[in-house]
């Protein structure tokens, strides 16, 4: 299994000017993208509606076809909105990489198992849904060796990461608040992307 922080750190080191649309553990303020990001102005945390990160990423990728968009998704989230995989592939954005952080649990609610977590074949589902390329890594060495190919492939690309569960069991109101939120991103990202309104 891959350590969550190692995964986001590696992805961040490869980002160039990519937008990261991140949710759940991948965006955790203690061990996720906010702890390693090298360009938070291009980080778009999606916390407003669980399961919708890949939809937001699809919209951004369609609006900005010349910019790479990486969606850092969670397995519980994606299962809540599984049709989003097909919605995404039906538009087939070449600039979109959908990266699934699969920890097999609802980590932010105390670590309850996700339905089917031992049976679901994410690679198979992604292939069936029509992603142009599908990759899967279950250790950091393989991810380090293979991530360049995944990030440079013509999309839509799906990357399955088997990551260690990092359980939180603190009620939301008592957690460390995120410095960068969906509201921050919506407020400043258009300018960062060079969009005039």
């Amino acid at each position: 299994m891959i350590d969550n922080t190692d995964a986001v750190k590696l992805l961040d080191s490869k980002r160039n000017d990519a937008v990261f649309v991140a949710t759940m553990n991948a965006n955790n303020v203690n061990f996720g993208l906010p702890t390693v990001t090298s360009n938070e102005k291009l980080d778009f945390p999606v916390s407003g509606a669980m399961s919708k990160a890949s939809n937001v990423a699809l919209g951004l990728a369609l609006a900005q076809p010349n910019r790479k968009v990486l969606c850092l998704d969670g397995d519980g989230s994606l299962l809540m909105n599984l049709g989003a995989m097909v919605t995404l592939t039906s538009k087939a954005p070449k600039n979109l990489v959908h990266i699934l952080f699969n920890n097999k649990v609802y980590a932010v609610t105390g670590g309850q198992p996700i339905p089917g977590s031992e049976e679901v074949d994410w690679e198979g589902m992604a292939k069936s849904a029509g992603y142009a390329k599908v990759f899967s890594f279950d250790n950091l060495e393989d991810m380090t060796n293979g991530i360049d190919e995944a990030l440079s492939a013509e999309g839509p690309v799906f990357v399955h990461l088997l990551v260690k569960p990092e359980i939180e069991n603190t009620p939301v109101q008592f957690r460390t608040p995120a410095k960068r939120t969906v509201h921050t991103a919506i407020a400043d990202m258009p300018e960062t992307l060079g969009i005039k309104r």
């Binding site: 937001v56 900005q64 909105n81 039906s90 538009k91 969906v182």
Partner: protein
């Protein structure tokens, strides 16, 4: 006495979208908007984004909006019920100026409707504080422009209830 032709042509709606520089229509087909499909797919200035479930539409629209585009959502009132958390989290909470064209299944001017999709929809919109317009005929189509203007001005989602099936 002349009777009003209660019909809404897709061309009237598309003309409104074009007039307001709408770039994308994020939609899930329904019976009220069925006849829109052919015209939308043939309209080069509009990119159609079909979804599998209505809650996706507001999130995709949010990404398009942040990316500099002007999307609109086209779903049925049943989809508004399904999409509640998206409307809350990625519409209202983030001040997305999103116009939602909503097929008003069950709408009737003639007595009570038995369709709960129609009976509940306006109450739900009121509860969320989402203002809305009703369109039934070509004469009403310019209310789409009013809705877009209001969404831009208030930076909030606005609904347009389509109270008739489109005519071909």
């Amino acid at each position: 006495m002349a009777t009003q032709e209660v019909i809404l042509h897709p061309a009237s709606v598309v003309a409104e979208l074009k007039k307001n520089d709408i770039s994308h229509v994020v939609w899930l087909p329904d019976s009220e908007t069925n006849f829109m499909y052919q015209l939308l797919t043939n309209e080069p200035t509009l990119d159609l984004v079909p979804v599998c479930r209505e809650g996706e539409t507001m999130a995709i629209a949010a990404g398009l909006w942040v990316g500099g585009k002007r999307p609109i959502v086209l779903i049925q009132n049943t989809g508004i019920f399904e999409a509640g958390d998206s409307i809350r989290g990625l519409g209202l909470d983030v001040n997305q100026p999103l116009v939602m064209l909503v097929g008003y299944r069950g709408w009737s001017r003639h007595g009570l409707t038995r369709d709960s999709a129609a009976r509940f929809i306006e109450h739900i919109l009121h509860a969320w504080g989402i203002s809305y317009y009703l369109i039934e005929t070509d004469d009403d189509a310019d209310r789409i422009s009013l809705a877009i203007e209001e969404a831009d001005k208030t930076q909030k989602p606005v609904a347009v209830l389509v109270g008739t099936e489109f005519g071909s």
